[in-house]
Amino acid sequence: MAVAQVPRNFKLLAELEKGEKGMGAGACSYGLEDPEDIFMTHWRGTIWGPPHGNHENRIYELKMECGPNYPREPPEIYFVSQVNLPGVNTSDGRVDRNSVGILRDWHRIAAELAKNPRPKEDPLSLETALIAIRKYMDENKKLPQPAEGTKYGIYR
């Protein structure tokens, strides 16, 4: 277990630093739900709604869970803010992996990475997942959205 966790934790620490320092693309933000969580399992994320559509000027809150097998396994991602998107569960905000490209292809990409462990850029991270979701939102920007700030029942 310890052996398997080292790369996971190194990676998550690097992601955490990137998130806290705001070194990302500036369209999303993420960090630990509880900064004391030494297993770095529960994460919070926000997505700035993509412009020119019904998501414009909104901020969506999400939560993400990185299991023990991250990054081999994709994170589980839930919308906390209510959102009307196909593939997002209407009762708990869970994002269906098959609806977002990077989550759907996560295993395949991870397998590729295993062969070439030092790519120039890491294609699999919480940030790239959030950006992919944001892009997916942009593709569905015409869908009517619930009032901003409403959250799924279980998070109220």
């Binding site: 994460w43 919070r44 994320g45 926000t46 009307n84 569905n140 619930p146």
Partner: protein, 447 residues
């Protein structure tokens, strides 16, 4: 700009605030200060000049609440808070639609929980797009998922005579990354130190791109197979159910359509039934070479050499079925055919060493590159890599007795990746399509 503004008894933190227009401010405040105080400060004309109620601050993935103290967020030294302007003053049209009601009336109520990604297409297939969108339909692939009649060798050769296509092939082989990809995605090639040289060798390239070589292969095949008998088997004949297995006829048919298959797969013919591909894979190379070196020399010899090991699936001659083995083996042997799932052995044996390798076990000698006998699957992969045609059933395998999960491991994995998880249905569909993933999907989607 950075100053310790608030009451100074408790700890101060220094952090950055990054605004949506990419300006960054470095601020120091007391940990006990509230978020609202920070916003007020940011709202000053010297910083962002935005009213506090239109600012939203986000740290580490969470929206900061006005009433919270900064200490709640455990901001670390020199970390970054994001500031995003909200649009209170000009609400987006969408918000206005539902903002008034606490319940999101505009959200479709019928979305089942965990609505599937299939909904994605809902927007595309709506009536308003009727007649506009060219959605792919079954028709696009021809009858039975693109498994229509294969083009003749002449058609293939003609296609290769097209300078554009010949050039494309050449470029592909000249492109190191393409060659890399080919080598990497094929275990057999990956294990072979000089696969690259081989793939890039002029001889190999010539073979792949020369229409004359193709025509020659076709002629030879006809000559050896008594002409005319090379009709592609009906799709039903490729149904790999073990029950329908070892029949002489089936095996012979497999042998016959070998060349068609490989050529089709290699050179981009549509379709990809690929019934006899595994075995066929070997044949064209051998016959090609047979045409280039003295016929009946090296190629055929090498054929015999590797046949014992490599040809497991070839022409249905799996070890499990002795009967088809003899029939198809005898039939094809003169063509240099029954043989080598290892085309390169034949290739280079023929080129380099003449016809010395008649005896079984001469495989190594026949194979200057130390290429292990290529399995039908490997050959199939190689063919696929040329990017054309869909995966065929590996060995025509009339007598393939392996369990489906093993025989179709690769295809099942692909189907799984695409979201088809029902093992039994996948296997049934693959059997029906003769192992073609394309065909199986067609079937899965239509049933």
């Amino acid at each position: 700009m950075a100053d310790a503004g608030e009451t100074g008894t408790d700890a101060q933190i220094t952090f950055k605030v990054k605004s949506s227009n990419d300006k960054t401010h470095t601020l120091t405040m007391a940990e006990s200060a509230t978020v609202l105080e920070l916003k007020t400060k940011l709202g000053g004309a010297d910083l962002e000049d935005i009213p506090a109620d239109r600012q939203r601050l986000i740290y580490s993935g969470r929206i900061m609440k006005d009433t919270d103290a900064l200490s709640v967020y455990k901001i670390k030294h020199m970390n970054t808070i994001h500031m995003v302007k909200s649009a209170r003053s000009n609400p987006a049209p969408a918000t206005s639609a539902s903002a008034a009601t606490p319940t999101p009336a505009a959200v479709p109520q019928n979305m089942a929980s965990g609505s599937p990604a299939g909904d994605l297409l809902a927007g595309l297939t709506g009536a308003r797009f009727a007649g506009h969108a060219n959605l792919p339909s079954a028709d696009l692939f021809g009858a039975d998922g693109g498994m229509g009649a294969p083009p003749s060798e002449e058609a293939m050769a003609d296609m290769l005579s097209n300078p554009m296509i010949a050039q494309t092939m050449n470029e592909a082989l000249n492109n190191p990354s393409f060659v890399d990809h080919m080598i990497r995605s094929n275990p057999t090639l990956a294990n072979m130190p000089n696969a690259r040289e081989m793939l890039q060798s002029p001889a190999f390239r010539d073979m792949m791109t020369n229409p004359e070589a193709l025509r020659m292969a076709a002629r030879m095949r006809r000559a050896f197979q008594g002409g005319g008998g090379s009709d592609f088997p009906a799709p039903g004949a490729t149904d790999n159910t073990p029950a329908g297995a070892p029949q002489t006829g089936g095996a012979a048919a497999g042998g016959n359509n070998i060349n068609d298959n490989l050529l089709r797969n290699l050179f981009g013919a549509p379709g990809g039934l690929g019934g006899g591909l595994g075995s066929g894979a070997a044949n064209p190379f051998a016959s090609l070479l047979g045409g280039i070196v003295p016929p009946g020399g090296g190629a055929a010899g090498a054929a015999g050499a590797t046949g014992a090991t490599g040809a497991a699936g070839a022409a249905g001659a799996t070890p499990a079925s002795t009967q088809p083995a003899t029939s198809s083996g005898n039939r094809d042997a003169p063509a240099g055919g029954a043989q080598p799932a290892n085309p390169f052995a034949a290739l280079f044996g023929g080129l380099g060493q003449g016809g010395a390798q008649g005896a079984p076990g001469a495989n190594a000698a026949a194979n200057p590159f130390g290429l292990p006998p290529m399995s039908p699957e490997a050959m199939q992969q190689l063919a696929q890599m040329w990017g054309m045609g869909s995966p065929g059933a590996a060995p025509a395998a009339p007598a393939d007795t392996r369990p489906p999960e093993e025989r179709y491991a690769e295809q099942l994995r692909q189907l799984n990746d695409m979201g088809f998880y029902d093992f039994d249905r996948n296997v049934a569909a693959l059997r029906r399509s003769g192992g073609s993933v394309q065909g199986a999907i067609e079937h899965l989607l239509s049933s």
